[in-house]
Amino acid sequence: MDSRFVRLAERDRATVEVRIDGAPVQALAGDTLLVALLTCGRRVRDSEFGDGPRAGFCLMGACQDCWVWTERGERLRACSTPVLMGMSVLTQPPESQWPETPDLRMLRAAEQTE
């Protein structure tokens, strides 16, 4: 089977298209990102410690085992982030893992003016 979660009710909601790792996916308005991921697939992310895929655990924002990333590198907690039309998320951290912090941005700007 290609999805992990099973929808049991509330199916009559507007669809919301989001992109997961570049591929378009139909979610429903009011879904969390985690539900969008697990009704079209079986994993949310991969463990950084080599023990395979993870699919969330607590669903209440406590375990931090459902992190995904925006294309700009911002981290989102999938269980507590509602889907929005046009959202695009990556289930692997983007190449440059660290988002640019305001002080880093200032440092870079200062380097360029030198």
Partner: protein, 463 residues
Amino acid sequence: MSLAPRMVVVGAGPAGVRAAQALVEAGVRPVLVDEGQRDGGQIYRRQPEGFTRSYARLYGSEADKAARLHRDFDALRGRIDYRGNTLAWNITSNELHVVHGQHTATVPFDAIVICAGAVDRLLPVPGWQRAGCYSLGAAQIALKAQACAIGARTVFLGSGPLLYLAAKQYVEAGAGVVAVLDTAPSARSWAAISGLLARPRLALRGLAMLRTLRRAGVPLLTGVHPLAIDGDSEEGVSAVRVRDARGIEHRFDADAVAIGWHLRAETQLADLARCEFVFEPQSRQWLPRIDADGRSSVKGVYLAGDGARILGADGAEAAGRLAALAALADLGHSTGAALYEKAAAESRRTLQRMDRFRSGVISAFPWPHEHAAALPDDTVVCRCETITAGELRRSVGELGSREVNRAKAFSRVGMGRCQGRFCGHAGAEIVAAAAGVPIESVGRLRSQAPVKPLVMNAREVQA
């Protein structure tokens, strides 16, 4: 006093909403900080806008209470400074530090009522790191807040009222329930347990849950010893194996498993506020010391709801109101003091009755600490960083840890991004057993700010 007291409430579950309501009744406008997108907390979590299931369907026998709490919160909205989607990440002397998205703020207070709630209390089971293994609370949230089951064929494993409640809700919602596996030693009927008689209606509800599950043909096993959550690294969970009370092994094919052993209080803010903790031998955990009305050992800091004592939603409503009124009375607020005088005696009686029930539940569905102590060395204890029981035991055996913070420094169990929420209690049992010392002597994991990970750029930078 001449100026209106600055009152802050953390959490918009049953305790927090009743605390805020009591403050408004006394003529005070509190700040209410809550991490959720909507009020209700976990137990009365509100489904997203646009969902149409009825209260009866969502909350069953508790529908009226849920509706009342939501209605009362809606009526409070204009009379409180409600900050949803906001994490209280630290507390310093008379200041609460919060973050909303990338915006941080400091909220000063004269008194704070912390109603931080609870999360599932977890015992590692070999294989619990696999995709498809969730906490019992997670299984319930998937259903309540998102109308989803966590899998097509779900096993429920653990102990406590939530084990049966979540399984029953799955059956009623049309989800596939493979089995309910309880580690509690015998099928003593709920009503027969003396403490449970303190709340006969709840005990009867427990029996009704069992009937629903039996009628649906769901196998119910008690006294089980969890052996493994089987599966492979690509597909995740494929089966759950347990040994029953007679020593016979059972294997249940499943694509999902929900596990949990009651609840664990979220005590991080109380800890950061330097509240004193006491060891509670019956449930083998450390809890902040509070008096009958919710006063902590720190002036101006009050604790209520499951974040202080696991009394459930009814107890949380009573405790939230009482703690808020006690706070006002202690500040010399005359209207608050009058309301406190009027309400205190009855609220305390209610809470005492709930506490007898709590004690009955703990003895009926005990925390199986001996299973934690006996976990095989290769079992993952820390899901965050995939650290095994063997590695934790090495920090005791080879490196001489006799205390959990020391063991954490050596093994990193408790240092991952859940900050010990899901490994802490079992980790302490493993350390105590390996060191051959009583559980209370290994201490408790110290809380660290921020209480949950923050994004790096969530701070103010002066240009």
